[in-house]
Symmetry: none
């Protein structure tokens, strides 16, 4: 992933914080005011950069409408397995409440508005928070139903070195997926827990982001 400049990162952080606090995105002019730019175009340029670098997605023409990318694009190479924890960007993504029931509440009232879960959110406060840290991923699809992990569930991932048989979050060919890790003498591959799905043999690389430790299911 291309590096973000300091200002770009600052702007992205501000945007996330704004969403976190207000439950809606800032406008370009909001950002302009925050950073004391004299022109909206300064912001515009930064936003384009953020989009080009893949960490932000804009919806052209739409006001206050963005998405942030949880992904870390991969560069890398020839080896078979590499272990990787969540990178910093991913962690920050977690600050964003948007969701089913957004962090929204009225001011001074950070709640989890009913519908959804009860997992503690990341808390942007400050900056401690080094690596070995768990994170959560929402599950989409049914490839793990035989392991009793269903669409809509959330899995808690912890960084670490996976063993044979662990369920892992893996980045395979640029896509994050949840599968069981099979290590055999000759080969390493990922196996879905659903007969209808084939095994996944990594083409070039297999990046393990972490090991699934528990499942959270909304009631």
């Amino acid at each position: 992933m291309e590096e973000l400049t300091k200002k770009q990162k600052a702007i992205l952080d501000y945007m996330k914080a704004h969403v976190s606090e207000h439950s809606y995105w800032p406008s370009i002019r909001d950002i302009q005011a925050k950073f004391r730019f004299a022109s909206t175009n300064a912001v515009f340029g930064h936003l384009q950069a953020l989009e080009r670098k893949g960490v932000l997605q804009r919806i052209p023409g739409a006001a206050r409408a963005y998405k942030v990318a949880p992904e870390a694009t991969v560069d890398l190479s020839e080896t078979v397995i590499r272990y990787e924890g969540p990178d910093e960007n991913s962690l920050e993504v977690s600050n964003i409440p948007l969701m089913g029931s957004i962090a929204a509440g009225f001011p001074d009232y950070t709640e989890s508005s009913g519908v959804l879960a009860s997992i503690q959110a990341p808390i942007s406060e400050g900056s401690r928070r080094r690596p070995p840290q768990s994170f959560a991923l929402r599950v989409r699809g049914d490839s793990m139903i035989d392991a009793n992990i269903n669409d809509g569930d959330t899995v808690i991932i912890e960084p670490g070195v996976p063993k044979h048989g662990d369920i892992v979050a893996a980045l395979i060919d640029g896509e994050t997926t949840l599968k069981r890790l099979i290590k055999q003498s000759s080969k390493v591959y990922l196996k879905a827990e659903n007969k209808n799905y084939p095994e996944l043999y990594p083409a070039n690389e297999l990046v393990i982001q972490g090991i699934a430790k528990s499942v959270v299911r909304p009631i």
Copy 2:
């Protein structure tokens, strides 16, 4: 609180769903299109109603900018139900950041990299915020297996006013138990999700400690 009309609720739900799916709010015209209104003013009126009724907060003039009120709200209190929060030795929900979505199916669902996480949590950071404090309970026994809650699982409980059908943590005869709450015109009782267990009719009063919002299962 004043009741919402069907349409108002539908619109509010749509807005929440939109945020959940796209990570930004719909515009008035988005809502208009969704509900096939011929005029934006129809939507406008509904939004005003939602705001007057206290479930939605608009930011005048700002595009796609809203806040929603915490869900709680009403039901009856005419019954024997009394609410009580968790006591001091309750477990703290651990601090788990949330990263994004993960695919557990075919990579056919690629929908741009920007799908966001779906859980926002009660931030436990001590201080303010009296009521909404979540806590976790370890489940023992098999009385809820038909609801797919098993021995050893952990449930996340949130304070709130329970509705008919909610799974609640209730204090009955000095013992905390997890059951489904059944509210009928004539009576209120607790029902296990296991045919082998009888229904529980409270003697005098029924103390609800909170509503089960999600289940955590170790892998």
